[in-house]
Amino acid sequence: MTGPALNYSKLAPHTLSASQTWLDVVRAGSLLGFKARGPGVGAAIFAWSYVDPYEQLSDAYTFMELRRVWPAVGDQLYTTLRRPILSVMRDEPGHSIDLLRHDCWWPRAQCRDALVEQARVRAIPAPPRRDWPYAVNIFARTRVGDNGDLIDEPVVTREGIHIEFIVKFDVVVAVMAAGISSPAIDIYVTPGQES
C-alpha cells in the first residue's frame, strides 16, 4: 500500500500530556506500546482499518470472540468484521484494557471532535463523525456487580509500567490521554519484521 499518510519515519515515540491527542498510521506487525509516566495515567484509544475506516476495533465483536470482558496477554481484540486487529502482548497492571465502558476517560464527542480534525488536517483516512468508533480504554477497569451494575475499579499504575499490542494489519490508531492533570503517557511504535 502506498499513500501520503504511510510515512513511517514519523512514528517516533510521543509523549502525551493529559488531554492531548495522537493519531497515526501503524503498519501490520508493528508493536504499539503505552508507558505510564506516573500514577493515575490512562488513555482512550481508537483503531480502524487504514483501507476501510468502517472496519473498527469493537467491544462487541471482541466480547463475542473472546467470551471474556477483560482481555489478557495473548488475547486478540477484534474488528466489526470479526477480524483480529490487535494482539495483547503486555498488560503490566493486569485486566487494564477496558471495553465495557467507553467513557472511562473521556466523553466520546470530545475525543471525536479533536481526532476527526486531526485526521482531516493530516489527510489520514478516518470514519465520519456519525460513524466514529467507541473508545477502548487502557489503564482502566470496570467490574460487573452481581446485579449487573458496572463498577469502576481503579487500576494501580506507577511510572514505567507498560501496555503493548501487536498490530495485525495496517491500521489508523487514535489516542487521547486521560484527565486534565494526569501524568503523561508515552506512545511508541516499533515496526515489525515485514515493515
Partner: protein, 205 residues
C-alpha cells in the same frame, strides 16, 4: 395517571425474519416471545439519524442492561426507549453483536444463512435508511451472564411462551425487530420461532 391507548396493532414476525416499524414518541411497544426460548434482536433509528447504542446505554445506566424505568440510549446520548415492564425471568443482552454472515460462515453454516445483521440492513433499506456499519443489537431474551472472573456465558434463553418486554417510545423512530435465525448453537428448541410485536398508540386528545 392511567395512560389510555386508542389502538393496538399486532405484528407477527416469522422465525428468521425481521420487520422495521415506524413508531411515534409516546407509543408503547411490546416484544413477545410466543413459543419461549427465542431471541429478538432489535435496533432503533431515530428520525434525526441517531442509532440505538449499547455502549452509550451501558455507560449512562452504569449497568449491563437497563432496569425498569431506565432507558436505551442512542449514539447522541438521548433516550430512545424506556423499559416499562419485563416478564421474562432471564436477562437480556447489550454485550455481543447480532449474528451475521461471517459468524455463520466461521461456524460452518455458510454465509447464506439468514442473520439478524441482514434482517437489520434489509428492513431498514426498505425504509430508505442505510447505515454505514452494523450497530450492536439490543438482544431481548438473550441469556447472557458475566461472572466475577469476567467470563461471558451465553446459555439457553429462559423466556417462557408469552413472555414480553415493554418499552415506551421516547422519540419518533424506526424500530427493527429480528426473530433471531440462530439455529447453529445447541439450544431447545433448535429451530427459531416467531416473535410478536404489539404497538399501543396513545389516544389523541
Amino acid at each position: 395517571m392511567v395512560e389510555r391507548f386508542a389502538e393496538t396493532i399486532r405484528i407477527r414476525i416469522p422465525a428468521r425474519e425481521g420487520v422495521a416499524l415506524e413508531l411515534c414518541k409516546g407509543d408503547r411497544v411490546s416484544v413477545i416471545d410466543l413459543a419461549g426460548h427465542q431471541g429478538a434482536d432489535c435496533v432503533a433509528v431515530t428520525a434525526e439519524g441517531a442509532v440505538s447504542c449499547t455502549r452509550a446505554t451501558r455507560a449512562i445506566n452504569r449497568r449491563l442492561f437497563p432496569k425498569v424505568g431506565q432507558s436505551i440510549y442512542a449514539d447522541d446520548n438521548d433516550a430512545v426507549l424506556t423499559l416499562l415492564e419485563n416478564t421474562s425471568p432471564g436477562p437480556h443482552g447489550l454485550i455481543v453483536p447480532p449474528c451475521d454472515p461471517t459468524m455463520y460462515r466461521l461456524r460452518g453454516a455458510g454465509c447464506a444463512h439468514p442473520s439478524c445483521h441482514d434482517n437489520f440492513h434489509h428492513t431498514l433499506a426498505r425504509k430508505g435508511i442505510r447505515l454505514g456499519r452494523t450497530p450492536p443489537s439490543i438482544c431481548l431474551f438473550q441469556n447472557i451472564a458475566i461472572d466475577q472472573a469476567g467470563q461471558i456465558a451465553i446459555g439457553v434463553n429462559t423466556s417462557k411462551p408469552g413472555d414480553r418486554i415493554i418499552f415506551r417510545v421516547d422519540r419518533d423512530l424506526v424500530f427493527v425487530v429480528s426473530a433471531c435465525p440462530n439455529d447453529v448453537f445447541k439450544r431447545p428448541p433448535l429451530q427459531p420461532t416467531d416473535i410478536e410485536v404489539a404497538i399501543d398508540m396513545p389516544q389523541m386528545v
